[in-house]
């Protein structure tokens, strides 16, 4: 009970500080451009912290540790990919995109290809990626509150949605930049401090942990454990026979009392309760290594595992550049050079952060084997402090982690809501501040609706799917748009439809499969290896076939993208050419006010 109070106060504090910063920032933000790109006057270091703060979502804060606990070294590809994606972004798109002067991805698509059609398709996929990325944030918020307080899972998601929407309504992006930068340092502290303390506890403990790792590498319960299966069907694999008490349903048949499990896979229905004795082997969710020996070795799954890892690498490397909430932040750099510097800082900040969840994931393997049975490994980071330090100290550490996790949901969700609402309000509604507000509410409602509707799975896996979607749609659009003059709007639209359509289909199939017994093969849950090359090929082939549709001034546009830094130059021409009436008015306004400031 005490622990609950500590954690709840920490969460309330995070929410309060977020509000406060939002309020302070909002007093300076009044016009549409203010809302969308915060006047492009944010220094690179703060911008980098803000990008990292926004980027470190539930998948990073909870999901990485959870996957390390479950899958061991192979899970490290997630943090590596999440970080290295920034390198691809830096090399291929950061500076040219900043120079294009467009505010959003659809803006860029239209400016580069000179067609409103491609704009509509881009808008659609920005919304898809944004919402797909929001869903695991809100679901993880539910999981966090459930773990801490036992409240139903929908509650946490609803709270996060409400806070984010109200905050975005109040301040827009400038407020959010401040908030995000604060969030990065907050999150780093919230994960680093407990990691240091728990690692010392681990080193000081008499057996170096609570469980002896037996010679055969089988993982065992350190003490007797009762585990209840949550709302979804779980499949577990048993390698070492064991006896346990079960109340509920195994493989669709009722059980009530002692049961013997030989080697094999067992399907547990929701609500099934299992009682394990101390020292009994731990059944592990199907698909993850069952012994510590396999857990510490990379790539034990043969060719299909190899392809899955390749697919993940493709999705994360190439997907980062297509994430709307990341890109919109690059527009806030004053020039292309600053955009590069920002990307470099982001790499450092992310690399630093990911050390900590990895360590926590490894520690959880020793202390929280029960999570391997019900598959709720995302909760590992939240439960570890109190399990390892069962006193006031542990409760405080737990509260810090809970606050950090909440910061992660809040910051990522804010960034996503701002960028999705920005696109919706400028592209679907006429761009007035008021519409931006309606768009924010609309985005929040759609996201929370889907979060409640869809089954929860590991945050990192769901997030990886939005990376796959981004890699199969905007990555080819950006890379070809910036580096190949032959791209036409017809080719771009076809590529978007083929790449995006396939990933969305894969997502639907994997949701259906998770309700009906998890039959979908690996390439469905991680399709990037197939969809990204196909999207590229479609764009190239169709563009070649429709060569006449290339914009007449393609050379000029490419020159704008690659040539010299544009401060107050290309940017303004591009707005003069492609911008809305309001942007033009603002530009004139900026020139009057900021003539001396820029150089």
């Amino acid at each position: 009970m005490n622990a609950t109070i500590w954690s709840l106060s920490a969460i309330v504090a995070v929410a309060a500080v977020t509000f406060l910063l939002g309020y302070v920032g909002s007093r300076k933000a009044n016009t549409t451009p203010d809302f969308l790109v915060a006047r492009r006057a944010i220094p690179a270091t703060r911008n980098a912290a803000a990008i990292s703060g926004e980027y470190l979502s539930a998948a990073s804060f909870l999901g990485v540790a959870g996957l390390v606990l479950k899958d061991g070294v192979d899970a490290l590809w997630y943090p590596i990919g999440f970080t290295a994606g920034y390198l691809a972004l830096l090399l291929f798109v950061a500076a040219p995109l900043r120079r294009s002067g467009a505010y959003t991805l659809p803006d860029f698509a239209e400016a580069r290809l000179g067609s409103a059609n491609v704009r509509h398709f881009s808008t659609f996929f920005v919304v898809c990626i944004g919402v797909l990325y929001l869903v695991p944030q809100l679901q993880s918020a539910g999981l966090t509150l459930t773990t801490i307080t036992g409240l139903p899972p929908w509650f946490g998601g609803l709270i996060v949605t409400a806070i984010v929407v109200i905050n975005v309504l109040g301040g827009g992006m400038r407020a959010i930049t401040l908030v995000q930068a604060f969030q990065y340092w907050g999150k780093l502290f919230a994960i680093a401090a407990p990691t240091f303390v728990l690692f010392v506890v681990f080193l000081a403990s008499p057996h170096r942990g609570t469980q002896p790792i037996s010679d055969d590498g089988v993982i065992r319960f350190p003490q007797a454990e009762t585990i209840t299966v949550a709302e979804q069907v779980v499949k577990v694999r048993v390698d070492e026979p064991l006896t346990l008490k079960v109340h509920g349903q195994i493989d669709g048949r009722g059980a009530d009392g002692p049961v013997f499990w030989g080697r094999g896979v067992y399907e547990l229905s929701p609500g099934t309760r299992m009682e394990f004795t101390a020292g009994s082997p731990v059944p592990v969710v199907e698909g993850s290594p069952t012994t510590n020996h396999d857990w510490t070795r990379p790539q034990t799954g043969g060719i299909s595992e190899l392809l899955r890892t390749y697919s993940l690498i493709f999705a994360t490397f190439l997907g980062t550049m297509g994430l709307p909430h990341v890109l919109v932040r690059f527009y806030t750099n004053p020039d292309g050079k600053a955009a590069r510097r920002t990307a470099l800082h982001v790499l450092y900040l992310l690399g630093l952060f990911y050390i900590f969840p990895t360590v926590l994931g490894v520690l959880s393997r020793l202390y929280l084997p029960q999570l391997l049975v019900n598959g709720k490994t995302d909760a590992a980071v939240l439960m570890l402090p109190e399990t390892m330090v069962p006193n006031l100290g542990g409760q405080i550490l737990g509260a810090i982690v809970a606050a950090g996790a909440f910061a992660a949901f809040l910051s990522t969700s804010s960034g996503l809501v701002v960028s999705v609402a920005g696109v919706v309000s400028t592209d679907i509604m006429p761009g007035k501040v008021r519409d931006f507000r309606w768009a924010t509410v609309f985005t929040g409602l759609v996201a929370i609706g889907l979060a409640l509707l869809l089954p929860r799975s590991d945050a990192s896996l769901t997030v990886a799917m939005s990376f796959a979607l981004a890699a199969s749609t905007f990555c080819p659009l950006l890379v070809l748009g910036i580096w190949w003059r032959g791209l036409t709007w017809v080719g771009a639209v076809c590529g978007l439809v083929v790449g995006g359509g396939m990933v969305i289909t894969a997502q639907v199939v994997s949701v259906v499969s998770s309700y009906t017994g998890r039959w979908a093969p690996a390439f469905i849950t991680q399709p990037a290896l197939i969809t990204v090359p196909l999207a590229f090929m479609t764009m190239i082939v169709v563009s070649k076939a429709t060569r006449r549709r290339a914009p007449a001034d393609v050379n000029q546009i490419l020159l704008r993208l690659h040539a010299p830094d544009p401060l107050g130059f290309i940017r303004d021409r591009d707005i003069a050419r492609f911008g809305t009436a309001e942007e033009k008015a603002r530009m004139a306004d900026d020139q009057r006010r900021g003539a001396g400031r820029t150089r």
Partner: protein
């Protein structure tokens, strides 16, 4: 929104753009940029994919002990991180040293006769 209006001063500008486009400096800039970006990203991706492949099929090689418990696999794994940072730093340096001055010069040419 996609309609493009050409005012007289804009078409004069357009001519200037075309001139710059045709200039040797711009060709040089594009060349330098491409010469760096594409080979480096190719190498980078190949290096990552190779690592996964080795981890999968060259267990013996990856398990070769170098010092104490530290084996080739671990060293290669850490090098993946290191290489990411090295490439990023190299690119930022390359851009600041070789690309920006040239870009600056071009910009001077475009803006030179009054804006």
């Amino acid at each position: 929104m996609s309609t493009v209006e050409h005012t007289p001063s804009e078409s004069a500008d357009a001519q200037k753009w075309v001139d710059v486009q045709a200039s040797d400096d711009f060709a040089q800039l594009k060349h330098r940029l491409r010469k760096f970006v594409f080979p480096v990203s190719g190498l980078f991706l190949a290096w990552y994919l190779l690592y996964v492949l080795l981890a999968d099929y060259a267990h013996g090689f990856m398990a070769t002990k170098v010092v104490g418990n530290i084996n080739v696999g671990l060293i290669f794994g850490l090098l993946q991180f290191v290489s990411t940072f090295v490439i990023t730093t190299l690119y930022v340096r390359h851009a600041n040293k070789n690309l920006d001055p040239l870009a600056e010069k071009l910009r001077g040419e475009i803006e030179g006769d009054g804006k």
